[in-house]
């Protein structure tokens, strides 16, 4: 009996198990998964928890519930991968042999990378919303906050769901507006990039949103430390931004087990072939989702498209065939803009987001790079789609793994 081992039972790992189980004979292949968590979180929901749009129950299920029946889930902490002997060592002392390894250990926040971020203000006036606990703590804070300077901040790229911080700023505008206290809140968006938008088409189409929602931008800000006493964030050039409430996205790093294994880059991401999803560590090790170092967005939709392609490549690998170089970096993301509207973007490694309709050319019903209520309904419906279709590896109608150009306005910029 051969063993396919999947590290991580989150979005990417779960999808791989659901894709591969029906394809691999149960008499020849066992699928074993390792994850230390007991809960599977619907992570896009962490954006909505702070504003009481979702309840905690709506964003979590037992980790086993979306998994196929015939897999073994080991709930344990991974010590390290030992590629030389095709083994994964667990912290409980067990050694697991594998024939094929899939690394889907994701990314996590590393607030301790920034001096003072986890200081005395942590979860008092400095919050993250990339964890369940952080998001709930922020919800409790927002319920009673009287207003002041709200700073929404990105420490460092790349981060999981790169648009989430901007969505947070837009939803905050909507939230305080409905509470009748928008006049008492100043919203500033602080980013290490040049501005909130960095791509020509998106900048042209969306810049109005910042003015409409009264979001101030501070760009080119690379945080050096948080001064908890003065309540300012300070960058390496000495620039300061004052806050009363800091909602930060700490640096994102791959799993600690990647560092212990010595198989990752400086930020613990796995060097991976961007078209085949085979790792550069060893030929029988593959990686997908947020755990890789690919120049694609760290997002569930990317993991979804990768999972379809990686499934095909794992089957080719087993048959001894050459892998297909078919992943194009496709991502498809809703962007909440507040007041029950949202945008949709669809892009890949080479094609920036543009206007158009999706998924049916000429029909939609979703519109690309343009605010609409239908897009917002799409985002709200997506939670059901996530649990019942996406994780299960069921195809989403009309949405293919590779990006489609039909339905998009793709005039060349000259």
């Amino acid at each position: 009996m051969k063993r396919l081992l999947i590290l991580g039972a989150g979005t990417a790992g779960t999808m791989m198990a659901n894709h591969l189980r029906p394809k691999l004979s149960v008499t020849d292949w066992e699928i074993v998964m390792v994850d230390q968590e007991e809960t599977h979180y619907y992570q896009p929901g962490f954006l909505f928890l702070p504003f009481d749009i979702y309840t905690p129950e709506q964003v979590k299920k037992p980790i086993k519930s979306p998994l196929p029946r015939v897999v073994t889930l080991i709930q344990a902490t991974i010590d390290k991968v030992v590629p030389e002997s095709n083994e994964v060592w667990l912290q409980n002392g067990d050694h697991l042999h594998y024939d094929i390894l899939i690394i889907a250990t994701g990314t996590q926040i590393a607030p301790d990378e920034v001096e003072g971020m986890m200081g005395e203000g942590w979860q008092k006036d400095v919050f993250d919303f990339y964890t369940y606990e952080g998001s709930l703590a922020l919800r409790d804070k927002l319920r009673t906050w009287n207003g002041g300077k709200l700073v929404v901040h990105i420490s460092e790229m790349p981060i999981k769901c790169p648009v989430a911080p901007l969505e947070f700023a837009f939803l905050a505008d909507s939230f305080f507006h409905h509470k009748g206290m928008r006049d008492h809140v100043e919203i500033t968006f602080v980013t290490p990039l040049e501005g909130a938008f960095t791509k020509p088409k998106a900048t042209e189409a969306l810049n109005y949103l910042l003015e409409e929602k009264g979001v101030h931008i501070v760009g080119d800000f690379n945080i050096e430390h948080v001064d908890n006493e003065k309540r300012v964030i300070v960058d390496y050039a000495g620039k300061e931004v004052p806050y009363d409430l800091l909602v930060t996205v700490p640096p994102n790093m791959g799993s600690d087990m990647v560092e212990r294994s010595g198989i990752g880059d400086e930020m613990n991401f796995i060097p991976t072939n961007k078209a085949t999803l085979q790792s550069k560590v060893k030929e029988n090790i593959f990686a997908l989702g947020d755990a890789t170092n690919l120049p694609a967005s760290k997002a569930g939709s990317v993991a979804h498209f990768e999972a379809e392609i990686l499934t095909e490549n794992i089957m080719l690998f087993i048959e001894g065939q050459p892998l297909k170089e078919s992943f194009d970096g496709h991502a498809n993301c809703f962007i909440e803009t507040g007041h029950n509207k949202a945008l949709l973007i669809d892009f890949n490694y080479t094609q920036e987001p543009v206007e158009g309709v999706f998924p049916l050319p000429g029909v939609g019903p979703l519109s690309l790079l343009k605010e609409s209520r239908v897009n917002h309904l799409g985002k709200m419906a997506f939670r059901w789609v996530y649990w019942h279709m996406l994780l299960k590896g069921r195809p989403i109608p009309f949405v293919s793994a590779n990006m489609k150009e039909a339905g998009k306005i793709l005039e060349t910029i000259e």
Binding site: E156, P162, E194, K199, D220, N222, K274, N293, L294
Partner: protein, 102 residues
């Protein structure tokens, strides 16, 4: 936009970044550095070559990643390319400006 250097036309985007990395030469790097008011030393070149090497491998760059690379500390990176080190060094190295998905 374009930069004309020793009779060669180098294509730049409207923010002064090379649109085709294969057009980059040491002289192009020096000309852009001069426009940015930076005199390139060995320390600058070490960073520029590191960035180009990462770019060729399609590896996304960030300040902290560079700080952990043993090529340069973040403080030194700011000293070499003041105010916006990653933006300015990328421009000189002939690689795209750091960007997000939108």
């Amino acid at each position: 936009m374009e930069l004309v250097l020793a009779g060669n036309q180098i294509q730049l985007n409207d923010q002064g970044y090379l649109t085709d990395f294969s057009q980059w030469t040491k002289e192009v790097g020096e000309a852009i550095a001069q426009q940015e008011g930076i005199a390139l030393t060995d320390a600058h070149w070490k960073v520029i070559h590191y960035l180009q090497d990462q770019h060729k491998q399609d590896i996304p760059l960030s300040i902290r990643k560079i700080g952990k690379s043993n090529v340069v500390s973040i403080k030194e990176f700011y000293d070499l390319f003041p105010t916006g080190p990653l933006k300015i060094s990328s421009k000189i190295a002939g690689i795209p400006k750091p960007a997000s998905c939108i």
